[in-house]
Each structure stands twice: as structure tokens, then as C-alpha cells.
Amino acid sequence: MAAASLSGLKPIVRQHSEVGVILIAVLLVIFFVATSGGRWNNSYNISTILQITATLGLMTLGVALVIGTGEIDISVGSTFGIGALIYLYFAIRIDPVFAAMLAVAAGALIGAFNGYLITRTGTPSLIITLGTLMIFRGLAIALTSGFAFSVPYKERDGLTYFILGGENIFRAGSFSGVNTGFLWLIAGLVVLTIALKYTRFGNHLLAVGGSADSAHSRGIRVDRVKIKAFILCGALAGLGGVLEAGKLGSADGSMGRLMELQAIAACVLGGCVLAGGRISLLGALIGVFVLSSIQSYLVVMAVKPQWFMVLLGVIVVAAALGDRKLRHWAVRK
């Protein structure tokens, strides 16, 4: 009886790779609420988690798209930092909106550079983006010469700062609201999910990840599809950087360091197959939520932060293995 009802779930698991991560998220939330004595599940902390989810999430959406093509982009942490710095530098000197667009464009350009080099030379994306990860991290540190860029607090008002992650909305009573960056994330998720499932671009992206040779044989321009994914990924990382800078009002050269690993971990956790062709944007974002939740749990429970890295690694390995088991079970007739 129980076995019969379980196999009834197979089609759901087969078609919705995010089932695993949703299960993990629910169990974790229950665990956190039960063990933190209100230190995790209070409105201030939840609000913070959502803000972190927003900026890391935008980056993760882009990384998921690249993973969908069967490639990987580990340069996004540096792109995020460059985006933040460009935004802060030009926001006070010229205009915040212009600065934000410039930062996103710079991210797109870094993505285009990655994509072009990878498709043109046939070099593995891991190697190329490892290179650009270091190049743009180095540039960020060199340009700031160790200091932070910042926007004085008194100048951070008006609609533009509000829209670009500078404020929270939906404040209600003791709930401190949701950072406006979160709205960008939701918009990104909706638009990209529709694009992925219901447009030619999405069909081609997943086809390239499933089998680049087959996609090519059906007339799909594989290189162009990959470059587009890298451009989107860079632009989203740049936007994430803008919103993070908008929230904090300052950034230094180390902004976004190691975030690329969290983004990739969130994708794996969310049911994206690293070999390409199967991704879940919603799953990846729930993966981001899980990671930010764990991180904040460790903080409020006063666990030393270095344990987060250890835990992150363990989670990624466990998620990868568990997900394979789950899929294997679901595909079996």
C-alpha cells in the first residue's frame, strides 16, 4: 500500500527535480525553529535571510542557465564584486540608474568574454572562468587599492536607491519587511522560467545541454546559445552586485568572494544536473534559501563561521548523491 502510493509519486519526482530540495528546506526549517529557541525564526532574521537570498539568488539563476547548457561559470563571484564597485563608483558621480545599467552591462560583457573564449577555443569553461574569476578579483582589489567604495548615507534616498535594494518594503508591525532586491529576484525567476519552458531560446538551451551534437545536427547554433547563457549569467551577477551594494552602501575589492561556490552548490542542491540539460530555476533558488538559512542558523547559534564552509561541502556532496538516487528511483519503470 505504502509502496504503491510512493510509486505514484514517481512521475512528479521525474518531472520536477526540485522535489528533493523542497523536502530538505521543509525539514531544515522545522529543525531550525525547533532548536534555535526563536533566535532563527524571528522577523529580523527572516528578513535578512531573504535579502541574502535575493542577491545570491540572482547570481544563482544565471549560473543555473549556464549549467543548463552543460558548461559552468565560476567567475560570477568576481563579476558580482565588479558590478558592486562600478555601481558605487558611478552612483554618486553620475547617477544611480546609469551606474546600475553600467554595472549590469559590465557583467554582461564579462559573460560575453567568457562565452566567446570558451566556444571559440573549445577550452573547458571551468578553466576559462577560473581565469576570469582571478582576473576580475585581482582588478577589483587593484582598483580599490584595498579601500572601500561607498555612498554616504545621507545621499542614499530617493526612488532609485529604494528600487536598487536600498530599502525594505512590506514592513508590517514587528516584521521588518522584504528588501526590494527580493522583488528583482522574483521578477528574474518568473521571466527566466517562462523563457526556459515556453520559448525557442529555452528549448535550444536545454537541447544544447542535453546533447550539443544532436542540437547542432538539427541546425541549432550551439555556440550562440552558450554565449547567450554566459551573457545572461554575467548580467545577473552584475545586477546581484548592484543590489548588494545598494543594500550595504559600500563595497571593497573582496565583495562576492566565494559566492560562486555557493551559487553552484545551490544549483546542485536544487536539482540542476551539472552535465547539463536538466535544471530547475525554482529548485536552485530554494537551494539558495537553504544555504542562507543554514548560514544564518550558524550565526545565531554562535557557531564559528568556518564551519559553514565545511557544512557547505558536505551538503553539496550529499545532495549530489541523494539527488542521483532519487532520480534513479523515479526513472525506473
Partner: protein
């Protein structure tokens, strides 16, 4: 029967993969309304030749003419746009996508909503369903199923159905009867003849000279990247052609030794 002017003309074609000389000075004409059997052993260059014709490989040297025009750029997209449909042997389907999505891969129909082109799923699913049923896919296979779950024969059926559905001027079949049962094999062979009778050029690749001799108007035999025979099936029997394959192989071995 066949037009005098070739639809596809291959002249002195050479193709290297690195140092490997995969096609050696191949010249061959293909006419509309003709069923040509392309025969040879493994590694003879049959698949490589047709992969040039369908745009996957760009030749290192030589010329290809389509309908009298010199082909200057090679890409599957260009070949498909010209009306060349190919049933590839090892590629052509993405395991992670549904049958309907694979069916229309690269030529997805769209419906504009607020000016944005969205995939026309009603058309994709409807057409794909009609065709795969005609090609004998089981009733419990849905067009929404991922290709990953299909058997070898079912996968082949999807590819053949797709090529026939979108047939235009040329249908190239690379070992189309692999993975198929005896009855399905006969069905595919009948289809090849039908397409020819409709005035299309059909290029049929196989190991089995006896099978293709019954269908084809002309047999082209390849060996070590070279064309070693090009004869109408009226002028030579299957046994004679098989002898050519044996002889050809031996000659090349001698030359290389």
C-alpha cells in the same frame, strides 16, 4: 526518371580530421527522384560524406554544389533550410527533452502572445502525436515523455517520422533500419521508395548491399574515404557489387603496403 542536372554535385571532396584523411578526392552526383545506396564497410567514409552534405562537417578541400549553386558555408541550419532532412545514426535526439520538443527541435513553431513568440505547444504535440502513432509507437508512449525513456526502435521511429514529416527535397538515411524489427525495416524501406517516387532525392546508407540493391537505382561504394564504384543497379548484380567491395578493399591494402 532522374533529372539530367544533378541536385547535389560533389567535386573532388577532401576532408581531414587532424592528420586523418577521412575523405579522399570524392566526386559524386546525386539527382532528384533518385534512390542512391551508399555502401561500404565501417570507416569507409559513408557517414562522413553525408555529414558534409547535411552541414555537420566542413570539407577541407573540393566543392559541393546544391541545385547548381556552389555551397560556401556549411552548417546543419543551412542544409535544413535548403530542404535536406537527415536521419542521423548516433545524433539527432536530445534525451532530456520530450518527443514533441525533439520533433520540432530547431524549427519550433511559435505563437505570438503580446508580441512575444512562445512555443506553439498545441501544434507541436498534435503533429508529433499524429506522426509517431503512424510510425507505430506504443499507445502508452506520450509525446510529453522524454526520449530517454524510449527503446532503440522507438527512437529510430521518432527520427524517421520527423524526417518524413519535414521532407522537402532530400532525405538522407544513415543506417535507418538499425534497431528495427523485420516488419519495421520493411516499412522504412517502403518509405524510402515512396519518397523517391514523390521526386525526392533519397540517399540510403547501409552495410547490407543485398538489402539496398533491391531498393536503389544506383549504388555508390566507398572504401577508405574513396569512392571505388558508382553503378546503376541495372548494370550490376548485388553479388558483383559485393565482389567490388572485396576487391576494392584488397587493392587499397596493397597500395598502402
Amino acid at each position: 526518371m532522374a533529372d539530367a542536372k544533378p541536385l547535389i554535385q560533389v567535386k573532388n571532396l577532401d576532408l581531414y580530421f587532424g592528420a586523418f584523411h577521412a575523405l579522399r578526392n570524392v566526386s559524386v552526383d546525386f539527382h532528384a527522384g533518385e534512390l542512391v545506396g551508399l555502401v561500404g564497410d565501417n570507416g569507409a567514409g559513408k557517414t562522413t560524406l553525408i555529414r558534409v552534405l547535411c552541414g555537420i562537417h566542413t570539407p577541407t578541400g573540393g566543392e559541393v554544389y546544391f541545385d547548381g549553386e556552389r555551397v560556401r558555408a556549411f552548417h546543419p541550419k543551412l542544409a535544413i533550410d535548403q530542404g535536406i532532412e537527415t536521419i542521423q545514426q548516433s545524433v539527432g535526439l536530445c534525451d532530456n527533452l520530450s518527443i514533441a520538443r525533439n520533433f520540432y527541435l530547431g524549427r519550433e513553431p511559435v505563437k505570438r502572445i503580446l508580441g512575444i513568440p512562445f512555443l506553439d505547444f498545441a501544434k507541436m504535440r498534435g503533429e508529433a502525436k499524429k506522426v509517431i502513432r503512424a510510425f507505430g509507437l506504443r499507445d502508452n508512449v506520450s509525446v510529453d515523455d522524454e526520449v530517454e525513456r524510449l527503446s532503440g526502435g522507438e527512437r529510430q521511429s521518432v527520427k524517421i517520422g520527423r524526417a518524413v514529416e519535414f521532407k522537402n527535397r532530400v532525405v538522407i538515411m544513415d543506417e535507418p533500419t538499425n534497431h528495427l524489427s523485420v516488419r519495421e525495416r520493411e516499412h522504412v524501406n517502403e518509405l524510402a521508395v515512396q519518397l523517391r517516387d514523390q521526386g525526392l532525392l533519397v540517399i540510403y546508407i547501409t552495410h547490407d548491399i543485398f538489402q539496398v540493391h533491391k531498393l536503389a537505382d544506383r549504388i555508390v561504394i566507398m572504401e577508405n574515404g574513396e569512392k571505388i564504384e558508382d553503378a546503376s543497379t541495372d548494370s550490376m548484380t548485388a553479388d558483383e557489387l559485393e565482389e567490388v567491395i572485396r576487391q576494392g578493399g584488397r587493392q587499397v591494402e596493397k597500395m598502402e603496403a
